[in-house]
Amino acid sequence: MIAYRQIGDCFIPARHQPALILDYARSRELDEQGDKALRGTGLRGWAMPDADIALSPAQYLQLLANVMRELDSPDTSFMLGQQMLPGHFGAFSHALLQAQNLRQALEILCAGAARLCPLLTPRLREEGGLAVLYWTDGFGAPSQLPALVEMHMTAVTAMCRWLAGERLPWRYCLNRSAPAHVEQHEVHLGGDLRFNCHLDAMLIKPEWLDKAWPRGNAMAASVALDSAAAEAGADRLALAPSLLSALYDHLLANIRLGPTLELSAAAFGVSAATMKRHLARHGSHFQAELDQVRAHVAIHLFQARGYDNEAVAQYLGFHDATNFRRSFKRWTGLTPSLLRDGLLSVPL
């Protein structure tokens, strides 16, 4: 049975990511305006929260939304990202600090996502001469997604720049139209920006994955990873992904078997009705999740394997390319050829 976390479960230690947000808000003198920014977050005051307090993703999202609204500045998400990683989030943070190269850092990030970045799930793929780190929404916060993506991409960019001792040549694909504050993206991320991409991804040439980092320490990294495993211990929920992420992984693994709501619910050990209700609580439904996975798979096949419409249609079990083309347009709002041109027109 698949373990998962829901939006109301309290598992994010208030001293981890929420404390960073409080700290930043205080540095911008938000605490002088009273407790308005703390409403709905489960936090009592601006001081460092007690060690035993944990927030739910809903409360953490609320805290972020409040602080961004009150500060009303386009750089808030980027500044929060600058300080987010490696962070002080236990053994995974220690492991990140000791990472020998980009590949190991990204693997630690993906393995410890529940601790390091609980709101967005990072996924690493390497194929077709390209390494892709892409992000999916963990707890269903579509209105906050652009800011969350800015924050998380900045976090990875800034951490890698620091640990690698140089700026890495990422290309950024963003699932949004070009914003008014594009200068923030240019400064905090980099100059190679693509908007309207239908995927929030950071692309880099694979040779950067294995270039040794100056601070890297194989021994210390493996010790830290061991203690991360010990920290999680026997608790099978300790590193469990969010429901949406767990479902994404499940659908991705079974995408060629024609997944249905009933079959997926069974894999999660709940009834179809319960699964429906859980998804609704995350602002989603089964078909939307399935469409997202199929769109991502199609984009991946186009990009990494150079498949044409016919081949992708066959892979995903469509009767013909026309049907696939129509569905793809419904998922992404673009025809496959348009998207292919946009994503791959200029080689990295």
Binding site: D75, Q83, E186
Partner: protein, 302 residues
């Protein structure tokens, strides 16, 4: 700000109470059917408005002569029209003169506000001089960054368009300046220290500019300069001078001295602002920054 002016506010409140007490004790109350509602609304309304102007003025300004004159004059107008309004509720004997004196405070208040306005104009000229390198021809308080008090990228884009429309074909240079290793300062000394570095660099740059130049905080640790009537060569030389001045600065953090150095990239401001800025932004992120000549050719610069 209102905390600063507590005694002024208490004095104005007491004056209103004294006025009410004076009318209530020396006058005879009118019966309800003799109340003239139009007069009550217009005179009472004037008093309420003038009172709110006093609050707006005091809450938005530091103390000083101009503030005292503006708030004092408005308070006189408020008390005068309040007294005028009390007339509608109480009958005062025809022989008494004090109520006329009270109502006479309205024109006196107007005179005081006018004198205040005169000095305010002077003050504004001084402030304009001070702000000139930060804002140039327009004022838009929303476009200012809270940390450095400089205009943001949005304002810069508008100014580039404005400059192109105002004097097409004239040389106008655009420079981006980036602090080397700023992220390391943030990691090592903390983000509040990083903020102080940004402020220090902003001040240093402002001190070395002409009155017609505009300095903006583009984003993060990147500053932008718009230099009207300037060729790319002159801009590059100015940028080198600025980098040298900032390099000479001694910035002291808690953990020790922080060395600050700048990279720069410059070009002619002759294209669409978004394209221009994106291109410059890419150039200035390179380890060795460069100058873009005529938007295409690249001239190396340290």
């Amino acid at each position: 700000m209102l905390q600063l002016h507590r005694s002024t506010l208490i004095a104005a409140g007491l004056a209103l109470l004294a006025c009410l007490f004076l009318y209530a004790s020396l006058g005879v109350a009118k019966s309800f059917e003799h109340w003239k509602w139009t007069d009550i609304v217009s005179e009472g309304g004037t008093a309420v408005m003038a009172g709110s102007w006093v609050l707006f003025t005091l809450s938005s300004r530091p103390g000083g002569l101009v503030t005292r004159l503006l708030a004092g004059g408005l308070a006189l107008i408020m008390i005068g029209s309040f007294a005028d309004c009390m007339d509608e509720f109480f009958i005062i004997s025809k022989t008494a003169r004090w109520d006329h004196w009270l109502e006479g405070m309205v024109p006196v208040g107007m005179l005081v506000v006018t004198i205040g306005m005169y000095y305010w104009r002077h003050e504004q000229f001084r402030l304009n001089e001070h702000l000139q390198k930060r804002e140039r021809l327009f004022r838009d308080h929303r476009a200012f960054d809270r940390i450095t008090q400089l205009a943001n990228a949005d304002y810069l884009r508008r100014q580039i368009r404005h400059e192109q429309a105002r004097r097409p074909g004239q040389p106008c240079a655009l420079v981006l300046l980036d602090i080397d290793g700023f992220h390391l300062i943030n990691r090592e000394f903390g983000q509040p220290e990083g903020d102080r570095v940004l402020q220090a660099v902003g001040h240093m740059l402002l001190l070395n500019l002409r009155n017609d130049d505009l300095l903006c905080r583009y984003a993060g640790d990147r500053f932008a300069l718009l230099l009207p009537d300037t060729s790319v060569e002159e801009a590059a030389s100015l940028a080198r001078h600025l980098a040298a001045m900032v390099g000479q600065m001694r910035h002291h953090a808690k953990g020790g001295r922080v060395g600050i150095s700048l990279r720069h990239a410059c070009s002619n401001a002759d294209a669409a602002p978004d394209v221009l800025l994106a291109e410059l932004s890419r150039a200035v992120s390179q380890p060795a920054a460069a100058c873009l000549m005529a938007s295409t050719a690249v001239v190396a610069a340290a």
